[in-house]
């Protein structure tokens, strides 16, 4: 049966003639070097395979062997604090094996099979185990406990259990007898096909925010745990910087960072920064709870296509243990381009801009795998998806941005003009939106008070008003506006520079707790209300500006440390004093 050989080669696409044993999406090994590939098309004459590695040097007649299983990843301890390529091969081991340049056909185990883990068994003989339940735990890193889960499709009664102790990845630690009487050996790991979503008990509404410490994201356009967000922006607008900031500061338990078709130097920066960055909550390096998937733009394009699915499968696995996982994908446009490239090699009929017609359904499938849910082991977990989009020519009407918009509920639109003025994060407050307001409102009201919601609404109203006033200013200058409108422009300037703009390199400003965000809005709005009163008495606005209060509030993000929020009271008092002195 094993006489399947290569017939044709076109870039990363290889065909096999007259083979009848392959399944759709089956993982195969191609050529003498055992390059990894996947079956993506079958006709009665030809089987089409996409190869995840460079095809240079392959010959017609080289063998193609099936594995009988779909493209899958190995799930188990050792995933965290690791860096993989798009098909879960550990890059550190590849480096040891092959040196600084990635060679082909590397055969390394995804996870270290020799490492010993201190396992605690959680079941005893006679216990009944359902799919997805926990039968053992072990400390994977000092901050994350790895919960070993039964495969979702298995269930039965525990027959044998090994004592607590040190075990390797493939050691049998328990035996399970299923309802048919068959015995299954349970180890510390399992396989899972990357293109299949892992099951959950039931989906929950996303009603808890993912707190990022980034003011514009938390207050104006919040995202829920289990939510989906898109960050579109042309080159140089700071997509990657935003993704890094989110990865560093958001309050998820686990971070999966997928560098999909992006720069190699960026990945080495992530590696450097994350290992130096100490998580304030645990006093341990960020890498203890991070997984990196690096398929840089010059690595094979088919593996780039797979990297997104590898990432989401790892994310779901940790969600199933009851963790809140955030996955950053940078960038989904490169993934879509990989789809287009392979579709082109298959000579499929293109839809918009050469992208295949199934682009929207693939995007939908991916974003649908995010969410908050009751997981099978009886607790709650979530996967938050944040995808960067790199629109061609910064044009948001292109197909990837448009289709992503349909399937994500937060849209953080990055703006070139803001980036040129070095206003970071360059999120445009007029074009961006979040659909989670209603879901999250109860949480904000409960935890931060009703006024938080009120402040936010007033801030966004002021910014809207400023934007329409700016239309006039652009035509006739700001001098001719009446004073109350000048005040709106002045306050909006404080909001833009003092609140929305946030300095990722400033020790205090890089992460701002929600309480401080609220107090900042409060003080700015207080100044606005008081000034409005004064202006209504016919006192010129120049007098208010001369007090220096607006400039002072612009700099309060640096002047008030995150730990000394009582200083805001002094600011309120100063406003009262200085403005009181102007009043007749």
């Amino acid at each position: 049966m094993n006489n399947n050989v290569i017939y044709g080669i076109n870039g990363p696409v290889v065909t096999v003639k007259n083979a009848d044993c392959f399944e759709m999406m089956e993982m195969v090994h191609v050529g003498a070097q055992n390059l990894v590939g996947e079956v993506i098309g079958i006709t009665d004459r030809l089987t089409t395979i996409q190869v995840y590695e460079e095809t240079t040097g392959l010959k017609p007649g080289d063998p193609v062997t099936g594995t009988g299983a779909p493209m899958n990843v190995l799930l188990g301890p050792g995933i965290l604090d690791n860096i993989f390529d798009g098909i879960e091969r550990p890059l550190k081991e590849i480096e040891q094996q092959a040196g600084a340049f990635i060679s082909r056909g590397a055969t390394v185990s995804s996870l270290d099979p020799e490492r010993l883990w201190a396992v605690t068994l959680k079941v005893k003989p006679g216990d009944r185990l359902e799919g997805g339940q926990i039968y053992a735990t072990l400390p994977e890193t000092p901050v994350i406990e790895h919960r070993v889960l039964l495969r979702p499709d298995l269930s039965g009664v525990v027959k044998e259990v090994k004592p607590d102790g040190e075990y390797r990845l493939h050691d049998v630690i328990a035996v399970l007898e299923d309802d048919l009487g068959d015995c299954h050996e349970l180890t510390l790991c399992q396989q899972w096909p990357i293109r299949t979503a892992r099951p959950v008990q039931q989906r929950l509404t996303p009603s808890i925010p993912l707190i990022t410490g980034q003011r514009i994201m938390d207050t104006l356009f919040p995202i829920a745990k289990g939510g989906t967000a898109a960050i579109p922006g042309g080159f140089g607008t700071g997509k990657t910087m935003n993704q890094h900031q989110l990865a560093k500061w958001c309050d998820a338990d686990i971070i999966i960072y997928v560098g999909c078709g992006e720069r190699g130097n960026e990945m080495s920066q992530v590696l450097d920064e994350f290992s130096e960055l100490i998580d304030p909550k645990s006093n341990r390096p960020m890498t203890d709870r991070t997984v990196l998937i690096a398929n840089t733009s010059n690595m094979p394009v088919a593996a780039r296509e797979a990297s997104i699915y590898t990432g989401i499968t790892l994310a779901e696995y940790y969600r199933d243990m009851g963790y809140h996982v955030a996955m950053m994908a940078d960038s989904t446009s490169r993934w879509a381009e990989a789809l287009r490239e392979i579709s082109g090699r298959l000579e499929e009929m293109p839809a918009e801009e050469g992208f295949p017609a199934y682009l929207p359904s693939r995007l939908a499938e991916f974003y649908e795998r995010g969410g908050r849910a009751d997981v099978l082991c009886g607790t709650e977990g979530s996967v938050t998806l944040i995808g960067a989009v790199s629109p061609q020519g910064s044009d948001f009407s292109e197909p990837v941005t448009q289709n992503t918009k349909r399937f994500t509920r937060v849209f953080w639109a990055l703006d070139k003009a803001l980036a040129y003025a070095r206003h970071y994060p360059a999120i445009n407050w007029i074009n961006s939106y979040s659909e989670y307001f209603n879901d999250l409102d109860p949480w904000f009201r409960e935890n931060l008070g009703d006024d938080f919601v009120e402040f936010r609404n007033r801030v966004s109203a002021l910014l809207q008003e400023e934007s329409s006033l700016m239309e006039i200013v652009k035509l006739i200058g700001s001098d001719v506006l009446p004073d109350d409108q000048k005040l709106v422009i002045e306050t909006a300037r404080v909001l833009r520079v003092g609140f929305l703009q946030q300095n990722a390199f400033h020790a205090e400003d890089t992460y701002v707790p929600l309480e401080k965000q609220k107090r900042m809005m409060q003080v700015i709005l207080y100044l606005h209300t008081k000034s409005k009163e004064i202006v209504s008495h016919g006192i010129p606005i120049s007098k208010i500006i001369a007090t220096g209060l607006f400039d002072k509030l612009t700099k309060m993000k640096y002047d008030i440390p995150n730990s000394r929020l009582e200083m805001f009271d002094d600011y309120m008092k100063e406003i009262d004093d200085k403005l009181g002195a102007i009043l007749p």
Partner: protein
């Protein structure tokens, strides 16, 4: 036993189709002998059983269905490598054309290279002092970076590149381990000659490898030129521990050659007729810049591309911008006012700058100053837009100050002589001097301690 295949089945553009070929491997190089005694090289780009498609580098002119004899070489495209390459001039496919005899390679390497393992990369942090105020202060070039120049026809990008080569000082590198690899793709003879002369004048010619595919050379060979150049650069950098600056001009011609090849192969076109894999293809070139753990050498790339119709959203600059670590954008209006280098400050950017400047690298105030210059200059543009509607007279006093600042900034900071080499301290001080023309309250990106130190208004 060497088999020769006689004749071809089909000829289409630069591609020939052959049938009945056995034992061929993907991307293999073939030698094609014509009846008139000349020979050409081609590369296998597609295989369907015994039917293969070969891309002929020198073009298919004078090839008929019967007048060729083709031989498989058994290996993919390889570049001969030796330290002796320094100072040589090669054609676009890496063959010597300077009349100094053949190259005796120490080793050969596949021109496609292999991707650097992200784990093995060193995050680039050492800055290169170019002596050009705008670049050093606002878009600092870092060793191991890829920083393209986005230009247009008729602009002074070549002068800028030459000035960078002449003035570039890499901390820790002496003239011994510094080298330049120059790849010309579809540029005119004069331009290549200009570069050669300039290298000679600045005394680096013996440390330069030139690969020339001029505008009248075979177009398909152009798709090989940058690959050969980067293979040489990697060899010099990672095996001979040199700091290599790679200048590739003009990337637009390269992309056009790729488009021509793609369309003759009958591939489905993406935007503006460029193949859907243009991003991956450009990335396979640009990503070969960098530094590797355990190797002291580095590859820094300065690709030059002329934006068709000065349009930065054109696919070539657009995709390039997504791959490279920033860009230096040149502006025709500045050039029209006689400013050199006409660097358009706002859209220009260096992504690696933030970690390579400041205390210990340049000066502690560098980042804050750069942020403030960008922010203030952005306001200049707003004020100018307003002035063009209501007239400069009607502007508010503060907007007038900005207009004034804008003029000074362009004529003194951006504008600098072709031979003027400014130290980083000089450039930074000049920045502060110009900012001092603005009221202190307008400088909202700088904290008070720095203002006390540097503001002279």
């Amino acid at each position: 036993m060497i088999i020769e295949y006689v004749g071809v089945k089909e000829i289409n553009g630069s591609l020939v189709v052959m049938d009945g070929v056995k034992g061929v491997s993907n991307e293999e190089i073939v030698d094609i002998k014509l009846e008139n005694g000349t020979s050409r090289q081609g590369r296998v780009v597609q295989i369907d059983g015994e039917r293969i498609v070969v891309q002929v580098f020198e073009g298919t002119r004078r090839i008929s269905l019967t007048n060729t004899r083709t031989r498989l070489t058994g290996h993919p495209m390889e570049m001969p490598l030796t330290p002796e390459l320094l100072g040589r001039v090669l054609d676009g496919a890496g063959r010597p054309i300077d009349g100094l005899g053949a190259i005796f390679p120490v080793k050969k390497a596949n021109v496609n290279g292999t991707p650097i393992n992200p784990v093995s990369r060193v995050y680039p942090k050492n800055y290169i002092n170019t002596g050009i105020s705008t670049i050093d202060t606002l878009m600092t070039l870092i060793r191991g970076q890829k920083l393209p120049i986005f230009s247009g026809s008729g602009m002074t990008h070549n002068d800028l590149a030459v000035q960078i080569v002449r003035q570039a000082k890499i901390s820790g590198a002496d003239s011994k381990n510094f080298g330049v690899v120059f790849a010309a793709m579809g540029v005119q003879k004069d331009v290549a000659e200009y570069f050669r002369k300039s290298f000679e004048e600045s005394g680096v010619l013996s440390r330069v490898v030139m690969l020339l595919n001029l505008s009248n050379d075979p177009i398909i060979e152009r798709t090989l030129t940058p690959r050969c150049a980067l293979t040489v650069a990697e060899y010099l950098a990672f095996e001979l521990d040199m700091h290599i600056l790679v200048i590739m001009t003009d990337m637009t011609s390269y992309a056009e050659a790729l488009r021509e090849f793609s369309s003759s192969k009958g591939e489905i076109p993406g935007r503006k007729g460029y193949p859907g894999y243009l991003y991956s293809d450009l990335a396979s070139l640009y990503e070969r810049a960098g530094m590797i753990k355990g190797h002291p050498g580095s590859v820094t790339q300065i690709p030059i591309l002329t934006m068709p119709n000065d349009d930065i959203t054109h696919p070539i600059p657009d995709l390039t911008g997504y791959i490279t670590e920033g860009q230096i954008v040149l502006d025709r209006a500045l050039q029209g006012q006689g400013f050199y280098p006409p660097v358009s400050v706002l859209p220009s950017l260096s992504r690696l700058m933030k970690d390579g400047i400041g205390e210990g690298y340049t000066r502690a105030d560098h980042q804050a100053l750069a942020n403030q210059l960008f922010a203030s200059y952005a306001k200049v543009i707003d004020a100018r837009a307003l002035a063009s509607v209501i007239g400069e007279e009607e502007l508010s006093p503060i907007d007038k100050k900005y207009i004034e600042f804008g003029k000074l900034f362009e004529s003194r900071f951006v504008n600098q002589g072709f031979t003027e080499n400014r130290t980083i301290d000089r450039s930074l001080d000049l920045g502060w001097e110009l900012l001092s023309a603005l009221p202190r309250a307008e400088l909202d990106r700088v904290d008070d301690a720095l203002l006390d130190n540097y503001y002279r208004g």
